[in-house]
Point group: C2
Chain length 209, copies 2
């Protein structure tokens, strides 16, 4: 198909398609004559992926470009691609230095060890966890840290469900989309369900307001 | 103690204390002579609460004012106060109208019913859930919705742990602080732990990258 048809099929405007081509987010079409190229179903799929990552995943064009390069690189294993997608949607908040940081680090290492998790100290989420745990101690709310084993158990329950969905796909393009969107939208689902569950547990314990 | 001492004790600058007094976030001190007032330990505690809600909870002065008025109102039950605190840190994203919204609503009602949760359709988190579930269908990712029962189970596990911490406090000021900070910081802990759990489940399934 020509670029005009590609645009109609995907709802992506022609100038945007040209921009994606220049940035390497979309592979070039097969040249047919001067200034004309032919596009196939792989271009439709790639365009849909790029749009989903940009609009729903909130990823920058640079980040999508990096993912797309890995997607097309046969040297990158599926598992590695999955890890890269996950890192793109993982915030890293460095803990502020303070007396409680070292203790938080030890507590988190113990928590990981108890669940049989590998050394995670290089993962950006590890830094975030240490920071929040140290802040809770700073604020005199170390009692909240007693819930961490349940939090970790719940996280693993969810991760197993997440990986089941990913494992059933078997298509790199689709897998990458699910990892990025599933991670982000899953966060929203999870925190919203936590609110409903809290309201229900409170209702069960204390009765109606 | 005088205002200068209250400021030293809490680290809150005198102009900020005066602002909080004007806004009703801090009850007035006991008048001693002209333009002088005496402040007690209840003022120290209240100031710490206001700072924690503003700095760590990200609540506006108006929102804190509302919570503080409820805190001082003996007509408001502990459970009601807890619910109000939770609502202050719950985003409500209305779903965009679309063909999948009604189906998402039914799926969520079923999910709640299976867990024995009460009708939650008035809760702001309910609207957010319907919106995300409908978006996943719009994007052709309805397969992800198959994980929702595990998400809800995990959410309940966490809510039980959250309520255990809250139930052990027995002090309204402290409870409100824990509900607001615990809800927000708990979200961060949970989503970060989910990342570590995903990395570990992937490692277990597919081996090192």
């Amino acid at each position: 198909m020509r670029m005009a048809e590609l645009s109609t099929d995907t709802g992506v405007p022609v100038p945007t398609i040209k921009y994606y081509l220049r940035e390497g987010l979309l592979p070039p079409g097969r040249p047919v004559g001067r200034n004309q190229a032919d596009y196939g179903p792989e271009h439709v799929r790639r365009l849909k992926l790029v749009r989903a990552l940009a609009e729903y995943g909130g990823l920058s064009i640079a980040a999508i470009g990096e993912l797309v390069r890995h997607l097309d690189d046969p040297e990158i294993s599926d598992n590695n691609l999955l890890g890269l997608g996950q890192l793109m949607v993982t915030a890293r908040q460095e803990p502020l230095p303070g007396p409680h940081v070292e203790r938080a680090r030890r507590a988190l290492d113990e928590l990981c060890a108890r669940r049989g998790w590998k050394d995670m100290s290089e993962h950006p989420a590890y830094a975030t966890l240490v920071g929040v745990m140290a802040s809770l101690e700073d604020l005199g709310h170390e009692a909240m840290l007693a819930s961490l084993p349940e939090y970790a158990e719940a996280a693993e329950l969810i991760a197993e469900a997440d990986m089941r969905v990913v494992g059933e796909l078997g298509d790199r393009e689709r897998t990458l989309e699910v990892v990025v969107l599933g991670t982000l939208m899953g966060d929203t689902l999870l925190t919203a369900l936590r609110r409903l569950a809290q309201a229900n547990v409170a209702l069960r314990r204390y009765g109606p307001k």
